[in-house]
């Protein structure tokens, strides 16, 4: 209902560009009719048009579908119907997550023309909420990489410095959010692929507990580690998206009913304030922030501040930890003896083994590219995979095949599985003493495009990441400072299914 006051607030919002809005603010603007979803969506599409030539975050943009969805939400709003938080808010989805009728390449030539025949569960959930999906974002081929340089199509650039990588493998999603080309995005994380790009691009990135979010429709890399999660501008937004995508799904037998605090979800959904078209303020933690944090025991693992780490990154991370201390949290030094280089070594056995099995399906027969020249069935396999799969993907398939082959299985695969147990034991021990764990995300800020030529040096940039995946824990990266113009990330690790706690801690940190 147009009233005099609205015009004023419209002007105020226009000064803050529409593309800068968070989910919470965009929702508020939509229900208050300060702008329409069509206006919002158009301004994002225009921005992508203008900016993405330089940043290259998107592999596919779907303006027709996005505008149609926006129109649908505007119709609901004009009928004064109640709309969910994500309704009409533009977002982006990593291109290894299926969206029906839209190309899904996983950043690989072998799936260059593959059209997804159905929706991933997370996409279905976003659609049910009325989300406006703008397009599919770039990634390292099959999510294998830490910089998005391994995309078979083009590298994505870091919006803070175009000569640098956005991190990977969800680099397109993080860059799109950081450059205001989407309000939020979905990524996937097998060994840091949400948290590293979130850190390099200065956004929030949540890797949920293994099993918290359905993997149905996510193109599989390592099935015992993969998780889908949000990349957002604020912790509050990460919470909103996580609450929508989390939950048991019959189509993913490893998904569970998360023990995520249900009341928090219910109060928000049923809030009378929403019905009254006013977004409930998410500040209900802030006034109790100090009292909450005083009971918080934070563990800082000594192994996570290593030689060769960028001094300025270390300073920023330590400064972040000191902020918690200043607010009254108890900081305790802990030990995760297998959390860094042993975890990385185990990861680079276990992941390639799962990859070599999962990627056997790209055989030139079922879907994707098939080699034109092949005299028999064997050549169909050999040539299709040679032509269609990039060097890093083939390297990992080879490594996994080697580790699983006769004579090597025990020395590599079985041993790595046992080290995985030790990593879980480390965390269990630590979590008997502390509530959450804080670590750096990456030992260095975003590096230059082309800087890491040797595959092993690229692997080492995930040194603080992989233990969380091997143990199936939730981990969140949030911005904690800058080195020059390059953002630095702080990682919060929680106990399984305690996303609510790490989100609360993150919300408190943003206000410190």
């Amino acid at each position: 209902m147009p009233r005099k006051g609205l015009r004023k607030s419209k002007i105020r919002v226009k000064i803050m560009r529409l593309e800068e809005l968070t989910i919470a603010k965009a929702h508020q603007g939509l229900v208050n009719k300060e702008f329409s979803s069509l206006e919002l969506t158009k301004s994002f599409l225009e921005r992508i048009d203008r900016l993405d030539k330089k940043i290259a975050a998107f592999l596919t943009v779907i303006p027709d579908l996005a505008l149609r969805q926006a129109k649908r939400i505007d119709d609901l709003i004009s009928q004064n119907r109640r709309i969910p938080l994500l309704a009409g808010v533009p977002c982006a989805v990593k291109d290894n997550i299926l969206m029906e009728g839209v190309k899904c390449t996983a950043g690989s030539k072998i799936l260059e023309n593959y059209i997804a025949p159905y929706d991933a569960t997370v996409v279905k959930k976003l659609k049910t909420e009325g989300a406006v999906i703008l397009g599919k974002t770039n990634l390292d081929e099959f999510a294998m990489g830490s910089s998005t340089e391994n995309s078979s199509f083009f590298p994505t650039r870091n919006p803070h410095d175009f000569s640098r990588v956005p991190g990977g493998s969800s680099g397109g999603s993080a860059a799109a959010v950081a450059a205001d080309m989407a309000v939020y995005a979905l990524g996937s994380d097998t060994g840091g692929s949400i948290r590293v790009p979130a850190a390099f691009c200065g956004t929030v990135g949540l890797k949920p507990t293994y099993g918290a979010v359905s993997r149905y429709g996510l193109i599989a890399m390592a099935s015992s580690l993969d998780q889908i999660g949000p990349i957002t501008k604020t912790v509050e937004d990460a919470r909103i998206v996580f609450e929508v995508i989390a939950g048991k799904d019959v189509k993913d037998s490893t998904s569970v009913d998360s023990r995520f605090e249900i009341p928090a979800v219910l109060t928000r959904r049923n809030s009378k304030q929403i019905q009254n078209s006013k977004y409930p303020p998410f500040t209900h933690y802030s006034h109790t922030a100090r009292s909450k944090i005083q009971n918080l025991k934070i563990g800082v693992p000594k192994e996570y501040f290593i030689k060769g780490m960028d001094k300025e990154v270390e300073r920023q991370v330590r400064e972040g930890i000191r902020k918690f201390e200043g607010a009254g949290a108890r900081i305790e030094e802990i030990s995760l003896p297998h959390g860094t280089d042993y975890a990385l070594a185990a990861y680079y056995i276990l992941t390639p083994c799962e990859i070599s099995a999962n990627l056997a399906r790209y055989d030139g027969i079922r879907y994707g590219k098939s080699a034109r020249k092949a005299k028999d069935l064997m050549e169909v396999y050999l040539n299709s995979r040679e032509e269609g799969l990039g060097p890093e993907v083939r390297r990992r398939i080879m490594l996994g095949t080697y580790a699983l082959s006769t004579g090597h299985y025990e020395a590599y695969y079985l041993r790595a599985q046992k080290v995985r147990t030790r990593i879980i034991e480390d965390f269990n021990k630590a979590f008997q003493k502390v509530d959450i764990i804080l670590t750096p995300v990456s030992p260095v800020p975003a590096f230059r495009i082309g800087e890491k030529k040797d595959p092993l040096s690229m692997y080492l940039s995930d040194i603080f990441m992989t233990a969380v995946n091997l143990a199936g824990l939730p981990g969140m990266s949030l911005p904690c400072g800058k080195v020059g113009k390059l953002p630095v990330g702080l990682q919060i690790i929680g106990k399984p299914f305690e996303e609510d706690k790490i989100l609360k801690v993150g919300e408190i940190f943003e206000k410190l």
């Binding site: 593959y114 025949p117 015992s224 580690l225 042993y342 070594a345 027969i365 590219k369 041993r415 147990t421």
Partner: protein, 96 residues
Amino acid sequence: MISRKEVQHIAKLARIGLTDKEIQRFQKELSSILDYIEKLKKVDVSKTEPTSHPRLIRNIMRKDQPRDEKTEVRKKLIEAAPCQERGYVKVKSVLK
């Protein structure tokens, strides 16, 4: 350093075609990664059970029954195959 023959053997097992130059490259790269992984030998795992999955779940079974799927989905799935005939995926002959 793993041998040229080993790389060729793994490539064949993995059904990946490699050029001569790539065989050399993979020899070098795989060796350096395997060297890094050697450090796992330093961990005492003599009394440790292996973990294959982060959650303690047993196999989740369902009846092996065909699911009713919409014809258009079935059509789309078949059409995703590079080579088809009369609603089937076509493969080069397996047996000579």
